[in-house]
Symmetry: C2
């Protein structure tokens, strides 16, 4: 279809949607690798033929537009009169790379089709304007929903100046995390756990609390064949009780060959000399905060350049983040079991909700059967 | 496709599946109307043409095979050499209607294709055998899963000699029935409630407890445009406290113009004279049981000819049926809210489960987004 499209036979908007969708798909090749930048894909089309493709591959690397133009030039194409499909408005500022608008203006590209404006306030429509003022035809807000979805984390960062928070939990059908004896392995099946690893790989930080560290000794790496870079592992600690020499030398979290590790702790309860030195020797990063709350952890990590936080538990961490209304996205994996109450472990055990109208609302974006379990993706409605 | 199938050009099994699937679809026209019989559909095909169609329309009415043969004869067709597609093995006993095997033998039908044997021990393969012995080609176990699904309630009745029990509940994402103040209207949305009415219509009995009766005053009728017959409404009562003259004259449950009503109560706590007479005057059926347990209610209702029980709550009824492990199918509607614990109303509030290996297992058959909510259909795995 790409090579033989007869433009006169088809509605232009349909052609544009076709190539822009291809650019969106291309952008997803950057999954997990471009933080703190957005995912961007670009396709260059001339006379019904794709002459160049590019996407943003890693932070500090070339922008998608640059890669697409270079690809076309490498293949010996002339760019004059071509159309550039790019998932996000081209940048108009000179950052680590030159401004993409400059490059486009020099290239002879005649049309630019994008899904959306850049939510970065330094661009926010200026890129489109520069192109239009120079006589280039600009079409935008095509496939806007898909474009927004692609860079939802980046947009959230830009618009709210906050890290994007995903809460992932495995629940019984009646919403329990574990039995009264904290027995939770496994409520869901292999396919659900595999999918959780996929989502891990899309996040910058994987958060656990002390209970999960000591009970489960999780490695928090991305396995099951996913090739996304290892996210940084984050431990929230009120104090260092239980974080012994043995734990530090034996538990996966402290093996920084697996992935980077970061501990945020309450400055009122610092580790003793010996523990601090051992952690540093292991390559674990340590930072003291004035208080260990969801808000403080979110602020610190966002300022440290992390875009997204993936909460893996346990119950105390879930409870703290839901109570503080700090969860943006819920990934709830339900397994084929009933656990019942009253003594089971709960997702939100200190809820103050008395009336239904006060219950936090979400938008359920999808439900999907994953072998014996299922996944619900829900977004906090604010 | 039906009229022009060139049999020599297609694989016979594919043709057979095609017509048998049509017969299964036809059978569903009997939904809600044939209790205590199974849903059955039949298609008669001769020389690549459908010459007759029939399904079991109501209890006591003609069997699907009889209706299909009659349809063909009414249209002036000769039956000799035709193939009968019927979702269930034809009966070989003379019940309210003559044996279908006799009719088939007399008709000149050359082939009979069915999905499955009749789970009724009075047939259980004998119908197929009689046909085969008389020289008719019999093919069975085609589309077996679909055939089993169609008559799952009937099969359950026949195989276990028990009523089929469905538990329907509306839950928050974290599995709560209501807030601590019993606020539950509405956790799910309109599309979920509509679907619940659809399922009501497929059941013979709709069960509630006293709490739901007094708090919600539900009518328990099938609305939202579904045309299935009104199921009988069932109230399980330990005693008649709170069932006052006002309640009886004003609450929908006691208005038997809407649908039949049945009360099963503990024989140790009968209603007083006045209440009993009023109930009888309203047309409410009353039966005393030695004890009011899920098992006793199931036994009574099955012996009274009901095939299926649809549990609508409230919490005490859910708890009793899950505790007694009497639920065969769960229809769980999840709404886009979090309620949290510890004081919310729970689906299974007196669960004894301590280890995950003891948690009741289900098979999740489907998950489906219903506007802002979703539905999970799960079957108890035994």
């Amino acid at each position: 279809m790409q090579k033989q499209i007869q433009q006169q036979d088809l509605d232009q908007a349909m052609i544009d949607r076709h190539y822009l969708l291809e650019a969106i798909t291309l952008a997803t090749k950057g999954y997990g690798a471009v933080s703190p930048n957005p995912y961007v894909g670009a396709i260059l089309v001339k006379e019904g033929e794709v002459i160049g493709r590019g996407y943003h591959q890693y932070a500090g690397g070339a922008h998608a537009e640059v890669n697409a133009l270079q690809d076309a030039l490498d293949k010996g194409h002339q760019l004059e009169g071509s159309t550039l499909y790019v998932t996000l408005e081209p940048c108009c500022f000179r950052g680590k790379t030159g401004a993409c608008t400059d490059l486009i203006l020099k290239s002879g590209i005649a049309r630019v089709v994008t899904a959306m404006e850049d939510p970065n306030p330094a661009v926010a429509g200026k890129g489109h304007q520069i192109l239009q003022d120079a006589g280039i035809e600009v079409v935008t807000h095509l496939l806007l929903d898909e474009g927004e979805k692609l860079i939802e984390v980046f947009s959230h960062n830009q618009r709210h100046k906050k890290i994007f928070v995903t809460l992932k939990a495995a629940l019984s059908l009646d919403g329990k995390l574990a039995t009264k004896h904290r027995d939770s392995q496994w409520i869901t099946g292999e396919a659900a756990r595999k999918r959780a690893h996929y989502y891990r790989g899309l996040h910058d930080l994987i958060l656990i609390g002390k209970g999960t560290l000591l009970v489960d000794n999780p490695s928090l790496t991305v396995r099951y064949g996913y090739k996304t870079p290892a996210p940084t592992r984050l431990l929230m600690l009120n104090d260092f009780s239980g974080i012994t020499t043995d734990v530090i030398t034996q538990y996966h979290f402290f093996n920084t060959d697996l992935a980077p590790s970061l501990i945020l702790y309450d400055q009122k309860n610092p580790p003793d000399e010996k523990i601090a030195s051992l952690l540093q020797a292991q390559g674990v990063q340590l930072s003291a905060l004035a208080e260990i709350t969801p808000e403080a952890v979110m602020e610190y990590t966002f300022n440290a350049g992390f875009m997204s936080l993936f909460i893996e538990g346990g119950a105390a961490i879930y409870d703290a983040f839901i109570n503080a209304d700090c969860v943006d996205q819920y990934l709830l994996f339900y397994g084929p079991k009933l656990i019942g109450s009253p003594q089971a472990l709960e997702l939100w055990h200190s809820s103050p909700i008395e009336q239904l109208q006060d219950a936090p609302l979400v938008t359920i974006e999808s439900v999907e059967l994953l072998e014996e379990s299922f996944l619900t993706v829900a977004r906090r409605r604010r």
